[in-house]
Every structure is written in structure tokens, then in C-alpha cells.
Symmetry: D2
Subunit: 335 residues, 4 copies
């Protein structure tokens, strides 16, 4: 960490600041120029509060040089984390497709989709029970009933299930869920993250649509610092000024996160793009970028459910995508 | 709401879509061009799920023409909402300054600041007890103890208090708090918003740094739809690509929200800009833009607390700002 | 186009507005609700000035329903444009890799790179002669000499050349250049675009790093409206709040542009990501997304040129990427 | 400047990099940690190419600690620059309002507006002759004729005139123009900036809607480095994800630029907000933020020109704004 001292600060003020750093166990390196004085900090700056430091009267700006995260940092843990989901392993060179509907709607729907995506190569089942919606007037999910239906589909197909949590008070309902998802809007719900750090279940942590990769890793650090190392990161699109797509899928997150952290990284092309006919090219791009897996929305298409049926990919479209995804994966990992 | 039908959709598909709209109680207006077919929807489209509609195979795009919010919409409620805080009224032409430290730290600190800001013209006291921090290693606030200290300062000065909630499970601790703040990172924590809709206390709802004004109003709608109309909106800076400031204060939010909603609007220049020496110009700009109030961080400055003491404005700086703010307010409201 | 009339507008004002639309050859459809009056416009709204309309006192907002571009619009020109570069064809199902150094530096450098990238499968040579740099103190390119060296490398290898123009006054220097590139910062230099519309040479138009796809297409429309239909679009990263990468590569631009326009679309992963070790995953992702080609920075690596040599991919790294790119292309286009 | 060396770089590589810095006249400070090696650079790093440095194989990241601009930097030139426009002085404590129509349309229009805004307190006249428009089908301005009409209004009222240039080839037409404006879309048209550095006329440089304050200052540095120090900076809104306003006016630019540079800073609320009924609050906020002046669009309102007449503020509205602006200015500068 480097602190730039404001032009005109007194010698006494600079010494006071240096003493304050020393009291926090840090060594300092002072570089005095004609127009600028810079204090370099050496040691563990993870718990130096950058907001506090920047707000000091005599500090012009602060630049963090080393990352503020530790537990999730590959520098201190070079080997890939492999998240074990009842024997199924995510990370460490494996590749998985998680598929299923946006919302669980009925027993027939979820079971039929589960069977069909399993046949096409999906190895986990997703389905929304608690749905975060911008409008209070939009469908909020089947909630507890949705989880029951999901578990029914799991017992039928053997697929482990992934579903989103929206409040720590709902945790008891998630006892038999295999992977708990934290959605983009809750990525910085720190009280929820702490609670999830106290359990031992795999957590699928989605990047907020306006959050940086550093912030994503800091949120993962919250979970890990409380004791749960089973974290899967998920990029699902960030907000930009482009309006033809719901969000912009940031695939550069894959190689950057691969370098920064040992945690597995999966991509959600469906939510990023928001338009089912554009999911295929983005799914293929995602596997080509080196991701450890995909999470894709798939829906069955009963003839009389005009709207519901068209919300996501059909099982046939999904089968085509899954096939090409696995062929591209071979090109990516070939020597 | 207007739905643009994809080029090449069959007549039968278009009729199916129209029937689906009619089944939802909407009237339609069909405009068929050589290259584009457009369906205009007439009626209450508040509960038409735009994501669902856009994902339909035959729909190219959907444009919302009327706002998706109702309870908070000035069109249906032309008069200003006035939020009553034990006799003190926010909105409807009044102007208030909320001031206090970022975090409550000790009995002496909060009491001393409370007295000093009251003397300079502040009418409410703020202070953080539960602190949302990006890093798990940063100070998380005094939590329940912080609320106790805040209430102590309230009983000493008579200033109503504002403090942030981070989880609905903490609600019992807020029983004697006057205004409950929802922070930027929780603006779309929908489960929390629903809980706050069930109580009758004023809610200070901060705009997320990644959220549009429509989304802010939809979150206010969540609270109001559950029964609590006592909502104060707060702009506190949005994330942009500029890096000299922590966020970018969006003062155009004031006139835009004034037109869209009847709820009072206050501005937080401190968090937006993140640098204490820039708070003054932004506070003056905020009152000039027509806001109903300000929320400003103020800190006392004991000589030996180098860092903590410099975090915010000193009481003397705050007094100068408060004085100019009130003089500018006079220019704004003069005939 | 739909104009929402402000609540409270008089009947006379609404009629005045309708008459004004009729005078511009448009038909109107009036929809009067209790709280909102909407005027739908039917006909060619391409030349309705949306800024002008929005600024009208009685207009609350304006929504464009149909695209404001015409010449580049796939709706009016369903077949792919194929840009012919001396026999080499871009678009219409072909796939090309453009490669070369960021800046042309010397005869040896550009010739050596040209030969090497040709051997690895590149079919066009790129190289910067005029360099747009944020700082006036950074290297501004060899300018006219750079173009001469590029043409020398062309005559040696037969590869057509692509290089950037920064001012219409330099056009005579580009007489023997095969493809003229318009850089991101000049995407809305409308006077330059008009000049490029008067020549018949292929133009590689890069998307501005803060521009929408609609704006990119409007800039292409500027060139086409003046008479030059030979336009290749290029996505090269957009500005977001993420700081680990220089920009964020928006690969969803590929399927979206494919649907909106008949022009070919290529991707520049090098400038988007700005870090050579991350170019490979992004190049693979780009071809998987369905792009018509790539433009990649490649540099030779003489042992004593520490800095210059490391600026881009080495020829060996490029060869590995080119090989995998072509194998992924096969998976994408296979039936 | 600080360079973070990639984990695992060899001692020889680090020494090579250090030697390369020394060869550029810089001193270095090496800080070797267990997991990270950092090289601090001491000396004039203005002309170190950060892109080049970051692209080096062994460099993980580069942080600039000191600003990359010099001529415009307040550190090296503490006193305010005062731009002299035929006796009228901008900067150094003065306050000016520039007013006029978006586009010059006719002799009557521009003369009538000029007289009216002069009467209300404007001291310079603005008017667009060359208009940068996103669409080639929108009105492009009266071009040379527009400048003639503007000069006619100048000779009638004595107001100096400000108008935008779009290409260096038009420079001869601007001989009698008092202040040449560079628009947001040309802020990084570096060839144009260089040409404007060769003349001695005041330049009004608008911030690009996609640019940071550092980039704005680097563009000013382009003009100054070529010899023209007469530069006025102008903030006119930046692109964000908010859609109710055309752009978001970033008023924090005023105090931040005031600290970074000695150049005068004016604000354009009209273009930022894009809706005439919201200009007043933003103009008041702008003066409250401490700006050296405003540039505001004003239009006359002939009864039969429905659209054109409503495009901007009427002279009456402008008079009200100007009056309040000057009263707020008094509060801001009072002791």
C-alpha cells in the first residue's frame, strides 16, 4: 500500500502518520520529492482500512498495491480448490453444466426438465424457489414448496440441486439442498455471507452486476473467514450502458480470476444476456474462455403455456449447446 | 407498454400473443408495418413481467412506456408525502440536516458530536452501529452497543436518531430508533424491504450505487406495498468510471425524483465523494438542486486520535457548511 | 416511435404536436388514458430528431421502437455484406485473422512479423503508423514512414494491410493501404466518417469504448450514407468499472450485431484486455461467439529489446492461438 | 509510479527491468516481500508509457502515484490561470454565464437571443454552427453560414462568441470567433488538439461523456504542450446507467479539478441533463459547487415554431436562473 501525502503537510504531520502505521505493525518507506511525499507500507496491509486512510486530512490518495484478500488468494494457496458435492467435483480441471428452469413451477415441470437435461449431459440441477424480483408485483417464486419440488426431482434423477437463498432466516429450509446460491443482489449482503460461513455446504457466489472482481473476492473472503472454504464463483453479467442485452457478460473474469484465486469459476450466460436466442453463442464463448462450468436456464415447452414455455432454451436447444460446449472444451484443454 | 414482434413471426403466433395479453385484462393496439409489427398495450401493465415478455421467441423487444411503480408515483398521488418523525416533518417544503459520525465509537464521542451538530442547526442525529464493509477485516461497528449509545445521545439532546439496519433479524434492537436506514448495498435485499413494510417507522432508503432511479422507486414500492408509506429517499452517489471520487453524486436525481414521486428526497454528499475536503461544495450543490435535506458525516477531533479524528468534517467545518446551506436554501425557495 | 405527453398538457397542445408529426409525413395513433396520453408514430421515423422531440415542453419522454439506422439494417438488406479486399472476402461465412504489431517500428520488425503471422494462418497484416495516445508524451507512431514500412511488408508477403487514420487530411497517405481503420476514439468524429464515405476503400470501424451498438451502427450509417458500403465492424472492449482489465470485451455484440446488421463483425481481444497473457482465452471465446474474424497484436521478441519485445504475443504464442481458433471455428459452424 | 513484479519472476528479469528504468533516468526503490516484489520509481515518470510497462511479461500491474500531466498541474503552477477574452477574464475568481441557442438558425433568431441574454446578465454568446449529431439524418448545422450569423450578433451586442469546431480543416472559418469549443466527442481527437495548440485563441475543452478527469487533463495537456495555454475546461455530463437524464452531471469535477489544475472550470447543465425543465436546479447546483461559470442553452420562442421554440429555456426562464445563480454565487464566495 502506498499513501501519497498532500502537498504542504508539515513534517510533524508526516511523522504522526508514520508512527500510526508503525503502531499497526507495518514498516514504512518514505520517499520525499520536491512536490510529493510518498509513504510505502511494507507488511500485511489486509486490515488497513483504506477508506479511513483516504479520509485523513494530510493524505491525498492511497493506492493498494497488494490484494486485500488472503484466504481466497492464489498467492497463498497455489493449488486449485476442488469443491466436493457428494462425490461430484467442481474445479481442478473438471467441467460441469448446471441446468434447469428459472423458477420451479410444478412437480411435472421440474421433473421433466431434470430428466431431459441429465440426458443431454448436465450434472447438476438448478431451479429458483425464492426469486429476487425488482418489482413487488412480479412472481416471487414458490418459496418453501419450490425447494420441496426441487428435492423431489433430485431423488428421481440423482442430480444434486442448486437453489438461491434470500435471507439467513430461511436456512433451515436448505438442509437438503446441495449447493446454496447467493444471487447478484445479495453479493454484498454481509450478514448473510457471515451466516453462510458458519455452515459447511458449497456456496455458489454470484458476482453483483455492478461489482468488481476484487469485491467479489472480498465477499468470498467473508464466507471463508468464518470457516466455509467451499465456494464456487459465478460471473453472470455486469451492468453497462449497452441496452440490447440485459447485462454484459464479462468473460475476461475467467482468466483474471484464475490468476487471482484458487476457487472454481463458472459462467451464467442466460442471466447476462437475457434473451434466449443469444444464449448459445455466449455459452460457447464461456467454455472457450476456460471456465470450470456453466449454469444455463432450460425450460420445457408445453404447447398451451405460451409465455412460460418460451422463457428459456428448450431441451432440444440445450442438447445442441451441451454437445458443442463439450467439443470446444476438448480444444481448450488439448495440449 | 409496447411489444415489438420479431420479423417473420406467423400470424398465428401474433394472435396467440394478443390473446395472452387479453387474458391478462389488457387491451391491445396492433400496428403492422412492412418490416415490423408492434403491439401497444393499454391498461394497467404494472404487473406484466417484462423479463418474461422479452424472452418470448417471437418478441424482439419490449419498451415500457408508463412507469412500473404505482404507490410511490406522483401521478396517482400528486401531493408531497410528509414523513412525521415525532413531530419533526420531512418533505412538503421543509428542510432538514441530519448529521453525525460514520460510526458510533463511544459515549463521549457520540454525545459530544450530537450537542455540537445540534448547535449548528442539525435536526436529526445519524451514527452507524451496524457497518457494511467490503472487507471482513474492516471494523464492523459496535452493533447493539452502538444503538444504545446513540439512544443515550438522543435522550441527552432530544435529536431523533437515524441508523442503518443490515438484517431483519436485528429489528427488535431498533425499537427506539426513530428512522431506520437501508444502505446502498441492501437496496435490493427484497426480503428485508418486505419486513420493513410491516412496521410503521420511517425508512430512509438509500439508492444503490449500481441502481437506476426506477429501481430505487421499485424498492420503495416494496416497502409501501406491504403497508408502510413513511419512506425518505436518499441519493448517495453512483458508481462511474471516474476514480478521483469514491462515487459520483447524481444531483439530477433530485428534480427527476421530484417529478416522478411524492416522497421526500435527501442527499448524502459525504459517502458519494468520500473525501472530507470535497464535502462542502457538494453539500452546497445539493441544497441548490432542491433537495429536502442533507445527511452529512461529522466527527469530533480529539488530538490523540490521528486517524479517527480526521475521518469526517470537524464540527467547525460543519457549522460553516450548515450556515451557507441554509442561505442557499433561501435563494432556492424565494419567489 | 412513441411520444408520451406530459400529464396536464392541453388538448390544443396535443393537437399542435400531432399536426407537426403529420407535416413530417408521419401517421399517428393517439392513446388517451386517465393519467397518460401517448402518441404512436407510424411511418419512417429515421429522420425524426429525438433530442428535439424530447426537449418539447409538453413531451414527457420519447421511446424509439424501430432502429434509427437504415442502410446498415438487416431488415432492409437481409443478406450478409461481403467486403472484398483484393479478392480476399470478409463476411458471408468466411473467417479471417488480422495480425501484426501495435506500432510499426522498423523495416526488420514489421517484415519479420508479417512473414511469421502469415505462416501461422493470418491473412491480413495490421500495424499502427498513426497512434492515438492519451498522453502527448507517449510515442505517437512513425506516421507517414510507418505506412511506407507497412506497404513494404505487404509487397514482401502479399498480405493486405490494415492501419489507422486519425485525420482526413492524411488520406492521401493511405492510397495503397487496403483497409483503413477508424479507432475507438474517432468513432464519432463525424467529419472524418463523412470523408471516408466518399472513398471506395474498406473501412474497419471500431466501436468506441463507451458507445452503444446503436451508436456504432449510426456511425457506420454515416459512412454508408455518403456512398461507401464496404464497412467492417469491430468490437474492442468497452469501459466498465472493472480495473483488472483495460476494458471489458463485450462478446454479446457478436450475436446482437449479427441480428441487427448485414455487416461483418470482427473482434479485437488484444486492446480490450490489455494484458498479453489474457489474450488467448479471449481470442478463443471470440471465435466461439461467432465472429467473422479476429484482429490480434503480435510482436517479435529480439533478446535485447526488453520492453518492446514483450508488448504483445510472441509469434509462437500466436501460432498456438491461431491453431485452436480454427479448430473452435469448426465446432461453431458444424451442422 | 510503482510496478508490481509477477510472482515467480527470476532475479535476472527483475534486474533487467531495473536497468531499463535506470536507462530512462529514473531512480528505483526495490521492496522484496515473500509473495510480492515491488519496484518504486522516483523521478519524472510523465513519459513512462504505462501501457507498455503493464504489457511486460514479468509485470503484474502498474500503479501511477503521481499525475501524468505537468503543464496543467497545479502543483507546478499554483496560481489560477486567467483566460483573457478581449478584456473579459475567465478564472481567478470571476464568474461568467455563456448563453445562447443550441444551433444558430437565422439572423433574427441569434440576434434576438443575444440581446435578451445580454440583458439578463450573460457575458458571452454561444451558438452551434457545426453540429455533431449521432445520426447522419439529423440537422448538421448551418456550418460556415452559422458562424457568419454568430459574428453578426457579436457586432450587434458586443458579446464575444463561443462555437464548436469539428475538424482542423475548418480553422480558417474561426478567425473571428473568440473562443473555440472542442466538443465531448472530439475530446480525444488528438490531431485536432495539436492543431489548436498552434494557435493563440482560447479553447473551451469539453469533457468526453466517456472520459475521466485525468483524460480530460491529458487532452488539455496536448493543447498546452503545443504552445497554447488559454484553456477553459467544461464538465457536461458523463454516461451512466441512469436513463431518465441524457447524461449524469458530475459536479464533483469542480472541486477535484480545482485541486488538480490551475485552469478555469465551467459547467454545462443543459447538455448533461437534456431536458429543459431540469436545467434550472442543475444550474443552481453548478454555481453552488464553485464553478467559474456556466454555459446554458437559451432559445427564443416564436409562437408558430412549435418544436424549435421549445428546445431550450426561454429568455424569461433564463433571466430567473441567472438572477438566482448570481445570488448563490454570493453565498459561495462570502467569507
Amino acid at each position: 500500500m502506498v499513501a501519497v501525502v498532500k502537498h504542504g503537510a508539515s513534517k510533524q504531520q508526516v511523522e504522526g502518520l508514520i508512527a500510526w502505521f508503525h503502531a499497526r505493525g507495518l514498516k514504512t518507506h518514505l520517499s520525499e520529492g520536491e512536490f510529493q511525499t510518498i509513504i510505502g507500507l511494507i507488511g500485511d496491509t489486509t486490515n488497513v482500512d483504506i477508506d479511513l486512510l483516504e479520509s485523513l486530512e494530510i493524505v491525498e490518495s492511497v493506492k493498494r498495491i497488494t490484494e486485500p484478500f488472503k484466504g481466497v488468494n492464489r498467492k497463498f494457496h497455489p493449488d486449485d480448490t476442488v469443491v466436493n458435492i457428494g462425490g461430484l467435483k467442481i474445479g481442478g480441471g473438471s467441467f460441469h453444466i448446471i441446468a434447469g428452469p428459472c423458477s420451479v413451477e410444478s412437480s411435472e415441470q421440474i421433473s421433466s426438465i431434470a430428466k431431459s437435461v441429465k440426458a443431454s449431459g448436465a450434472t447438476l440441477l438448478r431451479g429458483g424457489a425464492f426469486k429476487p424480483r425488482t418489482s413487488p408485483y412480479d412472481f416471487q417464486g414458490l418459496r418453501a414448496d419450490g425447494i420441496d419440488l426441487l428435492l423431489e426431482a433430485k431423488s428421481m434423477t440423482g442430480l444434486p440441486v442448486v437453489t438461491e437463498i434470500m435471507s439467513a432466516t430461511h436456512l433451515p429450509l436448505f438442509e437438503n439442498v446441495d449447493v446454496i446460491q447467493v444471487g447478484a443482489r445479495n453479493m454484498q449482503n454481509f450478514e448473510l455471507l457471515k451466516e453462510l460461513g458458519h455452515i459447511n455446504k458449497p456456496i455458489l457466489l454470484k458476482r453483483g452486476f455492478m461489482n468488481t472482481l476484487t469485491e467479489l473476492l472480498m465477499s468470498a473472503e467473508y464466507i471463508m473467514a468464518e470457516g466455509n472454504p467451499n465456494i464456487i464463483l459465478c460471473e453472470r453479467g455486469i451492468r453497462t450502458f449497452e441496452t440490447y442485452t440485459r447485462n454484459t457478460l464479462d468473460l475476461s473474469a475467467v482468466p483474471v480470476l484464475r490468476e487471482l484465486t484458487h476457487l472454481p469459476i463458472i459462467i451464467d450466460p442466460s442471466h447476462a444476456i437475457g434473451v434466449s436466442r443469444f444464449v448459445k453463442p455466449m455459452a460457447l464463448a464461456a467454455v472457450a474462455s476456460g471456465a470450470d462450468g456453466l449454469i444455463i436456464e432450460v425450460h420445457n415447452d408445453p404447447p398451451n403455456a405460451l409465455c412460460d414455455g418460451a422463457q428459456s432454451l428448450t431441451p432440444e436447444q440445450f442438447a445442441d449447446i451441451a454437445d458443442r460446449v463439450l467439443r470446444i472444451r476438448e480444444v481448450v484443454v488439448s495440449l
